[in-house]
């Protein structure tokens, strides 16, 4: 019997290089003749630029060239241009200079004469929706979501006047859906909460700035990038560079964090490529930490109104949610609609209305961040659940169990279904592990100025997809090569999801090689490494490819050893006759035969249904050995829900507003656990990020000049090792999802949201005050404890 791989720990092949420093991130790569590129960023939130004179810069010794918008393809609004003379955010790249050194490039930038004509700008969506308010783009002020084109939307002055300062003005909503009879449900509700809320935009703050090295060789464009994804990058890069996908060589063996902001190709990646084409030298564009805050993307902020009705047993009977999303100067993300779906799934309201508007602003490009939409709304809704529990005299875990979705849940206007849901199990097992009953007895316990708060949070994310390609090769040396088109975000899912192919083919892990991180290795088309999807999506593709290889092994054995393919079985790195195991071929023999046979056996022929990226990879692997390649055509019905619960105990100082997180436990529904160590690591890491979301993560802009006050790590601080407990507890329900051949689901996203919500829930528990916003900082807590009004209005942003 072959080695059991799934569910066991292993050492992913790239860890060693990370601890020795041998790992090469894009900024670590050096090539002969490499020069450096620096960008000129817009110094104000919106301007029309005239480049007056570049001659002095070009005349400088060591300056190699200047790239402007005329050298790159345009990207009309709401697209995000590579370079532009109409920058619509602070720091947006206008032009770039290449020079022998960065210092020379920086000095050359100073010598370029540029005129800036300041334009009106918008940093607060509500201000933009006010009659006569500024539009972030010339063409309008809303864009994004499911299907909202770029256009102008203004509410009436009456909408604002009626709302006053304590409610969200709720004018015309371009996005709206409802199920059931919301009004009637509120009439019958035993308890209603109806309050405005704010979730701040926050930067992803990956530790590795997104540097890119690029050069052209033999008609192909080589790009060393910092990205979460691998094959997913190819079509977008090809489109940006205006070349066929087979002429893109993309190398991203390591990625120093992305959290959503490096999921897909980003415009600055094209700058060194176009510069290199222009000057004929390899170009390195190093991105600074400050630049990363401008071009690195940030999570969309929300201003909203959430009205929730409960019956006397604690069931959520009605939700009415309005979200105004703050996006950047480009097509807005779907965070706000995803937030609505999260409400619909996690709390199973029988009646619900959602309205929303995605507003564009002159702030950084807003990109999905870990748990896009779902994590923002968890921060608001979870404390609401606690308030209802208190009001109705129900335990806070119990009220969540009462509302938890089952496997047969149908949610939102789309009547979506799920592949499996074990969040109730997670609540029961997680609260047990946390010793909820003992802990809740400590709630409100005082020690001088300090008071104990107990919190619980839940979060959800859709975590799996289907229809992508898998590719494996068995080489004449008998080794199984799994070609992974997945990126290397640091979750190790590229490796753990590969193990199903080895297990299916009865191949030892020792004799398995993972090909990844470089398109020259022949990598198939799979989805980006985002949205917690990799584990579900690519266990399916790798399973499909392994089964194709298995079938070919059997066919080759039948050809050479007699009988029919079905008479054979594959295990222990051999293919053998079931009735007479002495009739056997090793993988090495079968691979050699596959090369002799050619055609489909060694990858020279392949199914036409494969994606163009996979087809471009096939010539790179054809003839190397026996080739298993297939599209994942297995059935899939419903959303794959990653569900997570978190439990926190804090000690809050009522005089300073600071708190210490004493204990934290997370318990998740991720289907079967495929790799226990990486699960623990993801759940803990997401927990830390969530704790930051509750306390320190936010982007702040000066409303007068539109300048950014958060351009370094200590301005919007990621939590340090001293901010968190030294042992975060982790558990998983570990029940299989029926639509994955390995029973697995991803879970990287909601583990952040549940932690953020649990901390906010604990703060509410300790203070008795509902903040209805995140992050909550010590000033807010001090004001609340002293009974003073806050220094900001309920819907105010950029604080």
């Amino acid at each position: 019997m072959a080695e059991k791989l799934l569910g066991n720990n292993f050492t992913p092949p790239d860890v060693r290089a990370k601890v020795t420093g041998a790992s090469k991130y894009s900024e670590d790569v050096r090539v002969d003749g490499m020069c450096y590129v620096k960008m000129l960023g817009n110094p104000m939130p919106s301007s029309n630029v005239t480049i007056v004179d570049t001659s002095e810069a070009l005349a400088m010794k060591g300056v190699l060239g200047i790239l402007t918008e005329n050298d790159v393809p345009p990207s009309p609004p709401p697209g995000y241009p590579i370079l532009t003379n109409k920058p619509r955010q602070l720091g947006q790249p206008i032009l770039a200079v290449a020079a022998e050194t960065e210092a020379i490039a920086a000095e050359a930038l100073e010598k370029i004469k540029v005129n800036y004509e300041a334009q009106p700008f918008s940093l607060d969506p509500l201000q933009s929706l006010y009659p006569g308010g500024p539009n972030a783009l010339d063409e309008g002020n809303i864009s994004g979501g499911r299907s909202i084109p770029l256009g102008v939307l203004k509410w009436t002055a009456r909408d604002f006047a009626e709302a006053g300062e304590t409610r969200l003005p709720m004018g015309e909503a371009p996005e709206e859906w409802s199920v059931g009879d919301v009004e009637a449900a509120f009439k019958d509700a035993a308890f209603i909460i109806d309050e405005p809320f704010v979730v701040a935009s926050s930067s992803h703050q990956a530790l590795e700035p997104r540097s890119t090295l690029s050069y052209w060789e033999n008609g192909k464009c080589f790009v060393y990038g910092s990205s979460q994804s691998q094959s997913w990058m190819m079509p977008g890069l090809a489109a940006m560079l205006q070349i066929p996908v087979e002429d893109v060589v993309y190398i991203a063996e390591f990625c120093g964090g992305g959290f959503g902001a490096k999921a897909s190709p980003y415009p600055t990646m094209a700058i060194p490529a176009y510069m290199s084409k222009k000057i004929g030298r390899p170009c390195m564009l190093r991105i600074t930490r400050a630049e990363e805050y401008h071009i690195g993307g940030s999570r969309p902020g929300f201003q909203g109104q959430l009205k929730v009705g409960f019956d006397n047993k604690g069931k959520v009977t009605a939700i009415d949610c309005y979200i105004v999303q703050s996006g950047g100067p480009s097509n807005g993300s779907g965070d706000y609609t995803a937030a609505a779906e999260a409400l619909a799934l996690v709390y199973t309201p029988t009646n619900m209305r959602f309205r929303g508007v995605p507003v564009v602003t002159n702030k950084p490009m807003h990109i999905s961040q870990r748990g896009p939409g779902q994590n923002q709304i968890a921060c608001i809704m979870e404390p609401f659940m606690d308030r209802a529990a208190k009001q109705l005299g129900i335990d806070r875990i119990m009220i969540r169990e009462i509302n938890a979705p089952d496997h047969d849940v149908v949610f939102s206007d789309r009547e979506s279904t799920v592949t499996s849901s074990y969040i109730r199990d997670a609540l029961i097992m997680g609260s047990d592990k946390f010793k909820w009953k003992e802990k809740i007895a400590l709630s409100g316990k005082r020690n001088g100025n300090k008071v104990i708060g107990i919190g619980v949070g839940q979060a959800y994310h859709s975590a799996g997809s289907n229809g992508f390609d898998g590719l494996v090769t068995i080489r004449p040396d008998g080794k199984l090569h799994i070609h992974s088109g997945v990126g290397n975000l640091g979750t190790y899912s590229y490796a753990s999801a590969s193990r199903i192919a080895a297990e299916t083919l009865g191949c030892s892990w020792e004799n398995t090689v993972i090909e990844h991180g470089d398109s020259r290795r022949g990598l198939p088309w799979v989805l980006a490494q985002f949205g917690s999807n990799t584990t579900f999506t690519t266990t399916r593709t790798n399973f499909a490819a392994a089964n194709d290889a298995k079938q070919k092994l059997k066919e080759i054995a039948a050809m050479d050893l007699g009988g029919a393919a079905d008479d054979y079985e594959v295990d222990n790195e051999t293919v053998f006759l079931k009735s007479d195991p002495s009739k056997v071929m090793t993988f090495a023999q079968a691979a050699t035969r596959a090369i002799e046979l050619g055609g489909k056996y060694d990858g020279h022929e392949f199914p036409d249904e494969l994606n163009a990226v996979t087809k471009a990879a096939m010539p790179l692997v054809a003839g190397l050995g026996l080739c298993g390649v297939a599209k994942d055509n297995m059935p899939k019905k419903g959303t794959v829900p990653a569900l997570a619960t978190g439990y926190a105990m804090i000690e809050l100082d009522t005089e300073t507003g600071k708190y210490e997180i004493l204990e934290y436990t997370a318990f998740v529904d991720c289907g079967s656990v495929i790799h226990p160590q990486s699960l623990e690591q993801q759940v803990r890491g997401g927990g830390v990020m969530g704790m930051g979301m509750a306390s320190t993560d936010r982007m702040v802009y000066d409303p007068q000049n539109g300048l950014c006050a958060t351009v370094d790590l200590y301005h919007t601080k990621p939590l340090t090792i001293l901010d968190i407990p030294s042992n975060l507890e982790v558990g998983a329900v570990n029940k299989p999802d029926p639509q994955s051949p390995a029973g697995v689901k991803g879970v990287g996203e909601p583990v952040m949201g549940c932690a953020a919500a649990a901390i906010l829930s604990a703060i509410q528990d300790a203070t008795g005050h509902s903040f209805n916003r995140t992050p909550v900082d010590p000033d807010m807590i001090v004001n609340a404890m002293a009974g003073r009004p806050q220094s900001f209005k309920p819907l105010q942003v950029n604080i």
């Binding site: 420093g21 964090g257 042992n727």
Partner: protein, 212 residues
């Protein structure tokens, strides 16, 4: 106490002064005849000819001791150690996350003390012993117990902060072979990890302590 020059951790009353504080760094840059601004922290590895315009200054040949070897290298007056290591000596294990002494990805040991190499002038470490992540392995390339334990505990996630965490961990065990979990936390407190892998780093260093 770990010695690093992060401004928010600078304790003016401490008798344990770094030889290399932020103040001495800036003074050094000024003394070198240039401004402690962006240009001082930039990359250029074109050898002797980096003196385009006024931005670059004349390089001088100096010798620094890195990972036990004397390394002659041409260094600009305003050049940071991180820059020298990464771009002139090819030691790219030392990472740059912020270039402003706030993340710790560039942590190296200087005479056994963990220091942010992004904010240390190369000229100021000429008579000191520098150890980078590439230098903590044994004489035959065997992993340091801290590295081995980090693999076993699957401590790194994206891995970008990892070299800094390794150096901080190794430095801790050199001065305190049996640290408590809390002592490990304090020793790593100058190394940010956005992935939040802190618990696993603590687990690894505690595990390594028994073996180092």
């Amino acid at each position: 106490m770990q010695k690093k020059f992060s401004s928010d951790r600078y304790d003016p009353l401490s008798t344990e002064r770094d030889a290399l504080s932020r103040r001495t760094f800036i003074k050094g840059v000024i003394a070198a005849g240039t401004v402690a601004g962006a240009a001082g922290l930039m990359t250029g590895c074109s050898g002797g000819d980096s003196s385009g315009g006024g931005a670059g200054s004349v390089e001088r040949l100096v010798t620094i001791n890195v990972n036990g070897k004397d390394r002659p290298v041409d260094v600009m007056p305003n050049e940071t150690l991180a820059h020298t290591l990464r771009n002139k000596l090819g030691l790219t294990g030392t990472k740059l996350g912020c270039d402003r002494a706030s993340c710790g990805a560039c942590t190296v040991m200087i005479d056994g003390v963990t220091t942010y190499s992004c904010s240390t002038l190369t000229h100021m470490v000429r008579n000191k012993k520098i150890v980078t992540v590439e230098g903590v392995v044994g004489p035959n390339g065997e992993l340091h117990p801290v590295q081995q334990a980090m693999i076993e505990e699957l401590a790194p996630q994206c891995g970008y902060c990892t070299p800094g965490q390794v150096v901080s961990g190794v430095a801790l065990l050199q001065r305190n072979p049996n640290p408590t979990r809390d002592e490990v936390r304090h020793a790593l407190s100058g190394n940010l990890c956005r992935c939040g892998a802190y618990n696993n780093y603590i687990n690894a260093i505690v595990k390594a302590a028994g073996r180092a």
